[in-house]
Each structure stands twice: as structure tokens, then as C-alpha cells.
Symmetry: C2
Subunit: 504 residues, 2 copies
């Protein structure tokens, strides 16, 4: 076998076939690529890219020689072969993100991944100069995940026309949902690739209810074909996460629950890499049942972030709360919390074993709002979220485990979590002048640091003797009277501090 | 009938009988006063006050002539009669507080009562000079309810000896729970009367687990007798509320649930005025079942005050959250929140149709902490709570009803409530620059005011046209596109503000 080309591990191998096929190839033609290495065979759907172009894409997960052979009932697309060499991964490429250690994530190469995401729902539908600005803004932040819709959005502050129609215009002046617009999808996937090369996961939102083009109103068959098409086009991008919907529950009047289950199954059938998959609620009481085996992680919106550990326990999966309300000042109350409150909610979420998502929603005279369109950030939370990410990445390897039961004392009030060799306690609105709970039970060499979550400073904290609480008695039982840790720590009596304890 | 004495309406009529009775009158003697006016008869338990003294107390609820006749199997206490005239109530006396309008309270004369309470668990057991200081401090605050234990407390920061033993010392050097110490109870009820005359309700805590004297360890028969004794001594004080326990669930190992139910029944049997009765949990998941008919209102401790409306809906009674954590800086996380956070929790609670309680827990070199012992206040929340009380009493008559369903949008996020002619919206951590939700649907003359809950200022707010939201569509349904109120209000984009709308 003579190798025809090469591609780096976890990058996109693409093979294009030119063929004249009568009719509508989107609806009428199916073809597959079968990728083989040694005794392994990976079957990947191909897709029609307009004109005479048919493409099959593949993200190799092993180095070495691979071969491709296409399979189709359309003869021009059947039996096409190619060979290629998969080389070492590119600098910074760690493969797709997987669930790791039950409640956490890691890249395929084992590198821990802690999501610190933001939201620009319709950024790929804005003028190109604004998209470039979004990219430049993202470069200076610490965000490593971006929630973004395939479809444009029609919503307050989101009324401008999109860059491209997602489907070709039909004879009636409306889009023909049986004919995707290759230019629109090429642009979308190019932006996914841009994010990939920046180390940012693309949390791709497949459906949402805020629509004036009819995308939310396609037939069930059109929906199913569209989901499979996305898988064929996008799954080879290692940074893709599938978010079946933003606020799926607001679409239940046209897409009943069995359809949502079916979209998950279509992704399972067409995405051979099994990218992360979840689905985001609108109403806080309408969480999808994330216990289903086809859901990889819990994706929710909920402002009540002290419940994070309850959600972990309810679903047994990683919790990503992508919308704990946004920093901003809109009339809509999901988009009007202070930067201080959003930073607080990030710390609360992370210190209870979950992950939070950022959005920024400040009123703008031209409706240029980050959460909708990208562009510029004007707020204060994003810097503190980058700082939190640095703190976590400096010491956490497996992911954080909350220090106590979700309803237990004092961990329902203050927040604390640990990983091998590191413990954090986040006091939030609490301002004790000393502390012992959650500190090591046995004495030893520990570095104690006080983290100011808003001012982004880390300073050594003073070790003091553990407080021996006055014993309290009743019914023949004496409680207290011994310290709950080997030592204590002195604190300055200010809110929004965290304590870090590291074994030296 | 010749009238022998007079008493003001809702004050204490007391009749004392001197009798030499052998044995232990506390355990062996019972006697009752039957108070009659026209065809009405009220049966009231009497009690033994030490020495040769037997007392029956009565709080008349109607003006005019009343007569007393005692009933007892002990002949010296049987058939004693008296007559007295009940005159107009004293200045500021409105009678005992009752449940009114299902979720609220009012005095017996119909005057609205909105509880704004604080906590000094063991203040009546401190040196007399400190008790005087507590009274002086209370006079300058706006608190109109005080949580206070009958028994002293043995707990961290609460280790000094109490002023009096509650029971007489027995031969073994321990207290004899069959012989109450009249001096101790006289002191306690004198302080209840002091509070009464200041317009402060005494939320009397009957049991608690923090004990080194054995009070929490009495036999079931001793408990039952003690509860009846308290009713006989204290029920005639119009400002008494019965709080069966602080943290009853931490006593369940010695006092099982049927005993708690029984204490309620003993109060029903012995308190003819049916003072307010409730019971306070320790663990947030251990609420007593406040749906029981013998519970007048919901008394809880819970930091998660955005649930206030859920508790209203669950129990269908007034909600008093006496411990939404305390302002302070203790190592214990129930006693270390900032003043800002406690004020925020008061507003959240009140604006969701409930009532909150204050406590202050700043570290003190001599362990003189308000929440435990009274004395001085050092914090900042109490002034803002007095301001909130002023705001509410200025306009609310029936009590506040939350603006929306407990889980509904936007009222699970921001807080709003109304009474006839007045609506409040509390934005808390939200900082919108304009607002319409909850504002009047029909235009008219309204006074709009912006309340700064921390700085305690009230300023006119600017009316602006209601925002017409961009309509959003899917599935043939168009949403939005019309304003949700007749007008909007401009806001300064700062947190911790409230809006007041009054019909002129």
C-alpha cells in the first residue's frame, strides 16, 4: 500500500469525490467511508457538499497507516479508496474531550480538561469583521468552551439578518429544508476549526426555539436528516460537543420528547467518535432526564448553584451549568446579575464539584451583546473566571470532589472540595475569622494560601491551633470537645475568600 | 356583684391564694380558675408559686365585669371567688398576635403585625446589668419579636453560669425537676412583661439540646408537667409565642416525635388564649410537619431563602424563618455571613411573602455575643432591618402576596410582592437598567420610588414607556411583541435596590 497523504492525529482527514448525481443528493444519496487500520474498521458517514462534491471526513485516533474505502448504492461513490498516514498530534492537540472520573472531563490523551465556557449564541452569523473581533476577544480570555448555535437566532437584541441562509432558497422565497447551503455550513465548520486551533471546545447547539426562518419548524424527517448531516460534517472536528438544544422544553409543542431521544440516537449512529452529548433546559424545573445512557454529561441552566452537588448525585455524571444567569443589566432577569455574583456562582459551582458557564449581557445602543453576537467584552467577571481556571489547573488533576454530603453541615452553607494533595474551601458570603472544617485530620507539611476571588490575589495564610469547641451535652451524649482538624487557619473576616491547602 | 379590682384589656389579672398544702404541690395539686362574663366561661390553669402561694392568671379579651371561681380537689383552693372590671386597653396594647389572612399576622384588635425578630437565646440568664443593657439596645432597634429560651444554654460562647437554677436544688447537688424554682420563673416572666410593654413579642423556646443541667434529659412526665406549668404561668402575657424547641430534631434521640406532638396538645389544653405555636428545626431537611392543625405558623431555620414561597405553598401558613444564618464572623458557618447578605436575605424573604429573623454573632473576647446573651449590637444589619420594617408598615395592611408562582419567570430570580395599593420588586443581585414585569397592567396615577436597601434611601423613580420586546417565534406561535405592563421604570443599574409602586 502506498500512502497518498498524511494527517496529524486527531486532525481532520478529508476525502472528496466529484460525481454527477441526478436528483437531490442530500435526500436521495447516502455513502459511507470505511476507515481501516490493522483489524480495526471505523464506519463514517459522508455528505453532499453541493455541486458535484461529496465528502467524507475522518478524525483518526491512532497514528500509523490507515486506508479508506467508500460504500454507497450510488456507483460513483462506491469503492473509492485512499490511504494515508496519521502522524504525531499537532502541538497542543490532545484529542476530543471525554468524561473522566465520573464527574469530570479529560482529553483523549489523558490531559485533564476543566470546562470554563462562555456563550455567543449567534456569533457565526454576524458580519465577518465582528466574528474576527470575537476571536480576538476570546484569545485574551481564559475560556476553553464556547456555546454557539448552528442556526441564527431571532430574539430580543438578536434581530439583524444572518450572514448566510442555512438552507438554499426555494422557489417560494423561503428556505428549502431539503437543500442545505454548503457555504453556510462550510463557514460554520471553519469557525469550529478556528476555535479548535485556539484550544476552545465548540459546544454546538443543534436546535433552539428563537426562530423566524422556520428552522425550529422543520418536519421530523428534516430534523433527523439535519442531525445526521451535522454529524457527517462536524464530528471529525475534535473540539465538537453536541448540545441538542438551547431550551429544548420551549420546543416541546412541536418536537415531543421521543424526538429528542431520537436525535441523541442519530448522533450515536453517525458520530463514530462519540463526542460529548447533552441538552439544555429552559425552565429550571424541566431538566432532561440526564440519567439516560446516551447523555454524556448534565447540561443545565439554573441560577441556584448551591444545588450543584444535588445534581451530581441525581444524575451521576459531570454537571455543566451553562447558564447560572449572566453578568449584565438587561431588563430580562436571566441577564442582569452583577459581575461579583457571577464570579461567586462560578466558585460555588466549582467548589461543589461542577462546572459553570459565562455569558455577558450589558445593554448596548447597537444591540452588540457578547452573549448573542460576540464582539467585545465589557464586564468584570471574565477576568476572575480566567483566574479561577488558573487556580484549578495549577493543582487539580482528577477533578474536584465536594468535601461533604450535599445536605451536610457545614458544606451546604460554605463550599469545599478536594483532589489528591489539594483542598479548597470557598467561604463566599461567609466571613469567619478562623476555620478548621475540611482541613487535614493529621498534621504534616501543608502550604496554606488565602485566595481573594475578586481581587485575584493569593497570599500565604496563617496556621493557628485548631479550635477545641466547647462540648455540648444532652441525653447522656456529649458532642464537640475535640477539634475537627489537626490545625486551624486564621482568616481576615472578609467575604469572597477561598482557602487553598496543599500538601508539600 | 361588687367589683374588687380592675385590669386593662389584654393585661394580666392575677389572683393569689395562700394555702398550706402538704407534700409537693407542683406534682400533687391541680387547681383551675373559671372566669365568667355573661354566658361565657374560660377555664384557666393555676400554678404553685412556692411557699404557701397559689396563683391563677388570666388575660381578659373583653371589657366589662368578670368573675372568678376556683375549682380544685384541694379544698383550700376550691370555690375561691373574686370579681373584677376589665377596662380599656393600655396605650399601645393591641392584644395577642394571631394568624391573619392565612400567611400573615395581626393583633387581636386587627392592627397588622409584621414580625421582624431577633435572637438572644439566653439573655434572661445573664447578669442583671447585661439584661438591662439588652433592653436598652432593643429600644433603639426596630425588632418586635425576640427568640429566647426558658432554659439557659450550654454551648460554645455560652459557658457562664446562669443567674438562677430553673429548679430547686435536690439533696444530691443536682436540680430536682419536680420542684421548679419560683424565683427563676418569676424573673423570666418579668422579662417577658418588660418586652410586652416595649411592644416586643416573646418567642419563648421551651426545649433545646444545649444543656449541662439535665433540662434536656427530664422524664416524659416531667416534660409534660413543665410545659403545662409554663402555660399556667405565661399564657396570660399577651406577647407570648410558644416555640416548642430550638432544633427539636437534635433532641429526637431522647424525645421522640410523639412527645413533640404531645407538647403541642398540652399547650392546647392549658393555654386558653391559643397563643401562636410552632417548632424550629436544626437540620434544613428536618422541618417539623407544620401542616398539623396544632401548628399556627411555620418556624424554620434555612439559609436558602429564595425557597420562602415554596414553604408557604407546602404548609399553607405564615412562614417565619428565624435563622437564615446570622451576621457575624464565627468559625461556625451559621454565624458568619456579612451584614449585606443578611439584609439581602431579609428582603428576599419578605418579598416572597415570609418573615425573617435576625441574629448577630461577632467574635468577642469575653464571649459577649448578642445571639447568645444580648448586650450590645456591633453590626450593620439591624439598622437596615428596622428600615425594612418601616417601609413595610408604611403601606402594607393585609400582608404581602408574591407576584408569581414560586417556580415562575421572572419571580424565581427576582422577588416581588404586593398588597392592596402597593407593589414591591426587589432586585437583589440583579441590576437591570429598566423594568416592567409586575408593574401595573393598566395605566393610572402611581408613585414610583426606588429604595436603596443598604443605604436606606427612598427616591422617586423615573417612569418610562414600557419596553415592547422583540417577538420570538417558532412552531406557528409568536411570543412577546407586547409589553407586560402599562409603563416601565428606569433603574440605575446597581444591585440591592427595590422598587415601590403605590397607587395615588
Amino acid at each position: 500500500m502506498s500512502v497518498q497523504s498524511s494527517v496529524a492525529l486527531w486532525d481532520v482527514f478529508e476525502h472528496k469525490i466529484n460525481a454527477q448525481v441526478p436528483g437531490n443528493p442530500y435526500t436521495d444519496v447516502s455513502f459511507w467511508g470505511v476507515f481501516r487500520q490493522a483489524n480495526r474498521e471505523v464506519r463514517v458517514p459522508g455528505f453532499y457538499d453541493g455541486g458535484t462534491s461529496f465528502i467524507v471526513r475522518f478524525m483518526p485516533d491512532m497514528q500509523g497507516e490507515w486506508s479508506l474505502e467508500t460504500v454507497s448504492e450510488t456507483s460513483a461513490l462506491n469503492g473509492v479508496t485512499a490511504t494515508f498516514l496519521v502522524t504525531a498530534p499537532a502541538e497542543g492537540a490532545h484529542g476530543p474531550v471525554r468524561v473522566a472520573n465520573r464527574f469530570h472531563f479529560a482529553y483523549a490523551d489523558g490531559t485533564p480538561y476543566f470546562p470554563f465556557g462562555t456563550t455567543c449564541y449567534a456569533w457565526t452569523h454576524q458580519p465577518l469583521a465582528m466574528q474576527a473581533e470575537t476571536i480576538e476577544t476570546l484569545r485574551k480570555t481564559g475560556f476553553n468552551k464556547l456555546r454557539m448555535g448552528v442556526f441564527p437566532k431571532d430574539y430580543p437584541y438578536n434581530t439583524n439578518p444572518p450572514l448566510y441562509p442555512c438552507f438554499l432558497m426555494g422557489p417560494g422565497g423561503t428556505e428549502d429544508f431539503d437543500r442545505p447551503n454548503p457555504e453556510a455550513f462550510r463557514h460554520f465548520e471553519n469557525q469550529v476549526a478556528t476555535l479548535r486551533d485556539m484550544g476552545i471546545e465548540a459546544d454546538v447547539i443543534i436546535f433552539h426555539p428563537y426562530d423566524r426562518w422556520g428552522y425550529a419548524d422543520m418536519s421530523e424527517a428534516q430534523d433527523n436528516r439535519y442531525v445526521a448531516y451535522l454529524a457527517a460534517r462536524l464530528a471529525a472536528y475534535r473540539n465538537v460537543w453536541w448540545s441538542l438544544a438551547n431550551e429544548y422544553d420551549f420546543l416541546l409543542n412541536t418536537k415531543p420528547m421521543r424526538q429528542w431521544d431520537r436525535y441523541f440516537h442519530i448522533l450515536e449512529e453517525n458520530d463514530p467518535y462519540r463526542h460529548l452529548k447533552s441538552i439544555h433546559n429552559g425552565d429550571v424545573n424541566a431538566n432532561y432526564d440526564h440519567r439516560h445512557p446516551w447523555v454524556s454529561h448534565v447540561c443545565i441552566q439554573n441560577w441556584d448553584v448551591k444545588k450543584t452537588q444535588e445534581w451530581r448525585e441525581a444524575y451521576g455524571k459531570p454537571v455543566v451549568n451553562d447558564e447560572p444567569e449572566y453578568e449584565g443589566n438587561l431588563i430580562q432577569s436571566w441577564g442582569s446579575i452583577t459581575a461579583e455574583e457571577l464570579v461567586h456562582r462560578f466558585w460555588l459551582t466549582v467548589m461543589r464539584g461542577g462546572y459553570a458557564g459565562h455569558g455577558e449581557t450589558y445593554v448596548d445602543p447597537d444591540d452588540l451583546i457578547w452573549w448573542a453576537k460576540g464582539g467585545k467584552l465589557h464586564g468584570e467577571a471574565w477576568k476572575r473566571i480566567a483566574f479561577l481556571r488558573q487556580v484549578i489547573e495549577a493543582d487539580v488533576r482528577n477533578g474536584l470532589t465536594p468535601l461533604g454530603d450535599s445536605g451536610g453541615f457545614p458544606w451546604s452553607r460554605v463550599s469545599g472540595a478536594r483532589d489528591d494533595g489539594v483542598t479548597y474551601i470557598y467561604f463566599g458570603e461567609h466571613q469567619p475569622v478562623e476555620w478548621t472544617s475540611g482541613l487535614p485530620k493529621e498534621d504534616g507539611d501543608y502550604a496554606l494560601d488565602l485566595i481573594d476571588t475578586w481581587n485575584m490575589t493569593i497570599q500565604p495564610a496563617q496556621r493557628i491551633p485548631a479550635r477545641i469547641p466547647h462540648p455540648t451535652r444532652h441525653g447522656g451524649v456529649t458532642r464537640g470537645g475535640k477539634a475537627d482538624a489537626a490545625f486551624g487557619v486564621k482568616l481576615p473576616g472578609k467575604p469572597y475568600l477561598a482557602l487553598r491547602v496543599r500538601r508539600i
